[in-house]
Symmetry: C2
Subunit: 456 residues, 2 copies
């Protein structure tokens, strides 16, 4: 079977043969996103050569899509002139992201090779708190005056469009106050192009402030299906916009972070294959250690009931089942609540409704699981596998513990994330690993309490 | 403390007093999305009354945003004329979604009150497989001819824009074949409006087919940051577009589904507060039962080592720690891989690289955790808590099991989801609950094997 020849191999061969016009022809057929991924897979000398063959605008678009490590490498190969060219082609929010991710010496070089006006705009964005709308906005948007006619507005858009990340939603401002929005669609379909903007603009504007949480901002944008959301400062003056693609990235990042925390690890912004094994280790070991230490409690509980376990040895066999069921019940509830919280479906004031709903669901689950468990123990463990030390009393003791554990686990699972949110912690940290530990301890205590009461 | 008066209470009072003009004034200041949420929180009689007060276009936009239960209720109150009005205002993809979600008798009423051309378009979309790009696309897009001038193109957009979900990306077709794309931005910034479309269009078009998986389609759209992605049929003829807001919904739904499966439950498309306790129970009980039954294996393993446990009772105390650490290690690896797979970062052919990376990370984790565990057992359990039955031999036995469990768990955690993907199963079903069971069994077997070898 013949191996497929990758585009990277073809390009590397063409570089060797110095067939630069051919390479150029290949690159211009490609999307900047795809060029970025090809560049990252070629070796570092070729990467710079290929990058230099790109048209100026494509080069900037492609640069933005690369991972920080590769951006840094490219910058180190750039002359000051090249650096200036690339940076000045970037949108200001992308430039700000770059400055945030590069090490100090590179940042210094970047800023000293940036035009003064642009440098100011970058610094403007960098001063907002990390998780705020201000930090993900761009200051490049189309602003119109209320007294412009539609014709004048279209002229203005035509003149300024080239530098703007999105032109399709325009903002009508006066003395920097946001008065309304008008879309390019509105402008195009308008019957009379002498009509004033103020007569067709939407005045009921939905906006966020620079300090609004960036996830909240992104969810707002998603909820209303906007292409961009205007951002105002504390005095209601328009300072920028957040565009849908950046909002989408924020939402996906936050979800990935939630999934990570739920599974007991921190996540990286790098893609999997670009994350080293050592980084994976660093992301994972803290939770593993925490869980191990917190298992001291479950260990203690078991130790203190050693006598009971030695007398009725079969009790030990059901510990894993009890703990797994409890942990799973708890994480079902907690993950449901964490998702509902982050999608904005529930608020802290819904706590009583949530608890009631989870309690009802947990009663149903507990009933179903304990009946099934009783049947399983008596049919499989007792009859089929012929374990005589398992009798009705043991089965009842296990099932009762199971039912109570499920109910308690669901209660803890729904209440903890909501309380965490109220106390301004990330609700996700209250998810699986943490709840597992608490539920493990409770399920064992319940189990031994029942065992002591029924069996001895 | 005074209770806040909600907008719902205000509106309900105004309805009582029959102050319809005032209500109208309030409603027009609101976004359709917000009106939908208000309607769903008012009682059913008021809901219909409020809905009837909305302007036709707003009514349709608001209707789309409501949950299926409420849509059904509204439809049941509509006269045939009202129903026709609302349906004909919908975009065709939204109408198709509605038809899919309503019960048969309602669907019949909807279709018999729809204009024939529109009904045909709805049926066209409904015939595509549930998870395909065809099922989420809309057939309403702006198409241009290659020989049009920019001026003619803008005229055409002006005439047809009102019915189109998005106008900002236009598709250049000839005999329904997709030749290129051109954005409204390109048209607006063009210097000469007598220039032909074919000279300014982008001919390197990225598109999906009607049968492409809808998640893959949405990820493509997100990757390239497009507003819409063109969809072609098997003969490369353009049939529709998928817009960014629908793509975003698909991505979020799939992620929620993944999170659900990872946490051992199925998820609902309804929001949390609209899901009944019984539905929650149905979503959760299957995994709970499955886990309980599969715990039979762990139970069996423990039973068969009952003698060892009775002789060295302290061994039991470490079972929860071992199982939790193993389960957590496995789900860390599996969730990382599941995310990387669904974001398209890795393919099956990367399996060797993935295994090597996870193996390296697991060696580091295993080394760190077993050293920490040894220290913890000797310092906390032995010295601090003064448990004399815990000695160096027991600690070594626990730590060795822990190290091996972590390595095995990470291996299973990374390999199973990739194999599942290769076999065309959803990799997420290979996540936590399933892996937990396998890792539980393995960790116990390793533990008892070490105990038998070292202690007896």
């Amino acid at each position: 079977m013949q191996e497929k020849i990758t585009i990277e191999q073809t390009l590397s061969k063409l570089i060797e043969e110095k067939k630069y016009p051919t390479i150029k022809d290949i690159l211009v057929t490609m999307n900047p996103m795809d060029i970025a991924s090809v560049l990252q897979n070629t070796d570092s000398a070729d990467m710079t050569k290929l990058f230099r063959l790109l048209p100026k605008e494509t080069a900037a678009e492609c640069f933005v899509e690369m991972e920080p490590d590769y951006q840094e490498e490219l910058i180190s190969c750039f002359s000051d002139k090249e650096l200036t060219e690339v940076i000045n082609e970037l949108y200001v929010d992308d430039a700000a992201d770059l400055v945030e991710e590069m090490p100090a010496n590179v940042v210094k070089r970047i800023l000293s090779n940036t035009k003064e006006g642009f440098r100011k705009e970058i610094n403007e964005i960098l001063k907002y708190p990390e998780n705020s709308a201000g930090s993900i906005m761009t200051t490049e948007y189309v602003s119109l005056r209320p007294d412009m006619t539609i014709k004048e507005a279209l002229e203005r858009i035509k003149k300024t469009a080239i530098d703007k990340e999105t032109i399709y939603t325009c903002y009508v401002t006066e003395k920097r106050m946001l008065l309304g929005v008008v879309t390019v669609k509105d402008l195009i379909i308008a019957k009379d192009d002498e009509e004033k903007i103020k007569n067709i603009m939407e005045t009921n504007v939905i906006c966020a402030t620079t300090l609004t949480d960036r996830e909240e901002t992104s969810q707002m944008l998603r909820k209303y299906g906007f292409l961009a959301l205007p951002i105002v400062d504390g005095d209601n003056r328009m300072v920028g916009i957040v565009t849908f693609d950046d909002a989408m990235d924020v939402i996906i990042d936050e979800v990935s972070e939630d999934i990570g925390i739920i599974s007991g690890m921190s996540t990286s912004e790098k893609s999997y294959l670009h994350t080293s094994a050592f980084e994976l280790f660093l992301h994972r070991i803290p939770w593993l250690l925490l869980l191990m230490v917190s298992a001291t409690f479950t260990g203690l509980i078991i130790s203190s009931f050693e006598d009971a376990l030695t007398k009725v040895a079969v009790l030990t066999a059901f510990i894993p089942m009890l703990m797994d069921t409890g942990g799973n019940s708890g994480s079902q509830a907690s993950v449901t609540i964490i998702r509902a919280l982050s999608l904005g479906e529930i608020k802290f004031s819904d706590l009583p409704r949530v608890i009631f709903k989870e309690f009802s669901a947990s009663i149903l689950c507990a009933a179903a699981i304990s009946v099934a468990c009783f049947a399983k123990i008596m049919l499989i463990d007792h009859l089929l596998l012929g374990n005589d030390s398992i009798n009705v009393i043991v089965a009842l003791c296990v099932c009762a513990s199971m039912a109570l554990t499920v109910i308690v686990a669901k209660f803890i699972g729904c209440a903890l994330p909501m309380i965490a949110k109220k106390l301004k912690f990330d609700p996700a940290v209250m998810a699986s690993p943490f709840i597992t530990t608490i539920v493990d301890a409770i399920s064992l205590l319940v189990y031994f309490a029942f065992a002591n009461a029924i069996l001895f």
